[in-house]
Symmetry: C2
Subunit: 325 residues, 2 copies
């Protein structure tokens, strides 16, 4: 098994190998949750890092400013899912020799603009020559309570902060050239090139959510992760598919459910809310400028199913695979 190559192992097996190599750590969240939390002299220090790699995360249409923007947003999204406000970020960049200085500045500006959009700053970093463009962002925050992946109880309401399928349709449009309706193009492409993180929503949900994750690996994957961590199942009664994604699926003979369930690179939050907190949680998210969409319920049976045309179908634990790995 260990003679296996990284390309054969894939990202998830690599993470398992890393967890095994490090062993158990003394931290409230174990490696593999969205963020890491440590006790630093009574202070709950929250850390997050996520790396963007040109060949797997950057469609050719993405401008340098957008690359920097996205690298920060994908990290903010994980902090948002845990209900933590980032206090500061740092940026380590690997730059190919033929990257233009102008584009480098735009990339940094995009990262800095994204940080400021979410109320913090990029306070430092590192730059190195590298064979391809790599942007590793790390964020730190301070938090008293972290919303884990593991707190869902049977009966809790499964909810999301938005509709799905836009970014996966947008990626298919950008990378495979599948046609998009002119009026829908912006709605599909923008979430790919300039994603937003649901930070305000995540902070508003923190007092109410029993479990939370972001949907960057796809809705199905996220729900399965919540199920696994919490020891519950889920019944998705209403798959929250965006109308533009449904039209795109129709035009291109794709399954709209596949787009919504197994796409990825979408930065919505997927949360569970105890029924008695539902109204307060929905109100808090609305006051934060967002919306909370009820999509299903946590179940005692440890399966993840979706109701499609009145029938229950199994939702597979399949996630978004980065496009050029």
């Amino acid at each position: 098994m260990l003679a296996m190559l990284a390309s054969e192992a894939g990202e998830r097996k690599l993470i398992e190998a890393a967890v095994e190599a490090i062993g158990r750590i003394s931290a409230p969240l174990q490696i593999g949750d969205d963020v890491a939390v440590v006790d630093a002299g009574g202070i709950g220090l929250v850390l997050k890092t996520d790396m963007l790699v040109a060949s797997t995360d950057v469609p050719p249409q993405m401008a340098p400013w957008q690359v920097g923007w996205k690298a920060v947003v994908m990290n903010v999204s994980d902090m948002a899912a845990k209900g933590v406000k980032p206090a500061a970020g740092v940026l380590a960049i690997g730059v190919p020799g033929d990257y233009r200085l102008e584009d480098f500045k735009l990339l940094i500006k995009g990262a800095s603009d994204a940080a400021r959009e979410y109320g913090f700053e990029i306070v430092g970093g590192d730059t190195n020559a590298c064979r391809e463009l790599v942007v590793a962002v790390a964020l730190a925050g301070v938090a008293k309570r972290i919303v884990p992946r593991s707190g869902a109880k049977p009966g809790d309401i499964l909810a999301t902060t938005g509709y799905f399928g836009l970014a996966s349709a947008g990626l298919k449009h950008l990378l495979e050239g599948l046609p998009a309706r002119p009026g829908d193009r912006e709605a599909l492409v923008k979430p790919v090139l300039e994603p937003k993180a649901r930070l305000r929503e995540g902070l508003a949900l923190a007092p109410y959510a029993s479990a939370s994750i972001d949907s960057s690996d796809g809705l199905a994957w996220s729900v399965h992760e919540l199920a696994k961590a919490s020891g519950v199942g889920f019944r998705i009664e209403h798959i929250p598919i965006a109308p533009e994604a449904a039209s795109f699926a129709e035009d291109n003979s794709l399954s709209p459910l596949d787009l919504a369930l197994y796409g990825g690179e979408e930065y919505e939050l997927v949360v569970t809310i105890p029924p008695e907190s539902w109204s307060a949680a929905a109100k808090a998210v609305e006051e934060a400028g967002g919306r909370l969409i009820r999509v299903g319920v946590a179940t005692r049976e440890k399966h993840v199913v979706a109701v499609v045309d009145g029938r229950e179908v199994e939702v597979e634990p399949r996630g978004y695979e980065h496009f050029l790995t």
Copy 2:
């Protein structure tokens, strides 16, 4: 100027461009110091990131465990220079498809072992496919006081925590095949393949040092950085060259001063100590298991000079250049 390519610009111009793109930030240390510090609700949050790239930072002789070890140590070294104990670290790794899973695990183990050596843990991370091996480490800590680069006053004593030239000689031995004396080989090669950070020394020095930096870009570069940030000059009266480096220079007709001043990848601390604190500082470092070597003095004249054979020579603001850029 902006049409310039990254390879023409070089690392330092890229950092200048990044500082320009971000603009002034509201943080006690500005971008470009060794670590970043932000006020997170009254807590002094310290962040550091440094990226290791295979083609520029990893000699072919370096084992995967050592790669992980070094990636962490180079970050710890900067925290050490600022007198900050790391509380936790995260790791973002780009892995080429043909990297072996076994080596990946060893790399993670090396990073984790290094973190534990310095009293903290790797608590999370991210893994991606990448065209070359890239390891970005980010550390966070909490600190009341940070030793800046900018606090040196004329008359302060310039000191280091060790002797120089070993790693630069070691790199020449490993990369260019220059011969090393058999009895000295270990002393030259070990600092390259398994460097140590002077964390205990840095923590011991924190109450006394007026300015501090680590020497990863070379002794000359570090002293110039202290000079520039503090608005002083330095007179290096005694260049702290390691005996094994001097022998290596002699055998290979190299300048021992060049090895000690302009080499790099050495993780000693370069500090300034007000004269009245010298005894206490030296004692504190000894009690921490290290030594403080007096090498010169900060001057009002803003030049950096070294005394060589009784004559003053100019020390150039030249640093270590990574070997394969």
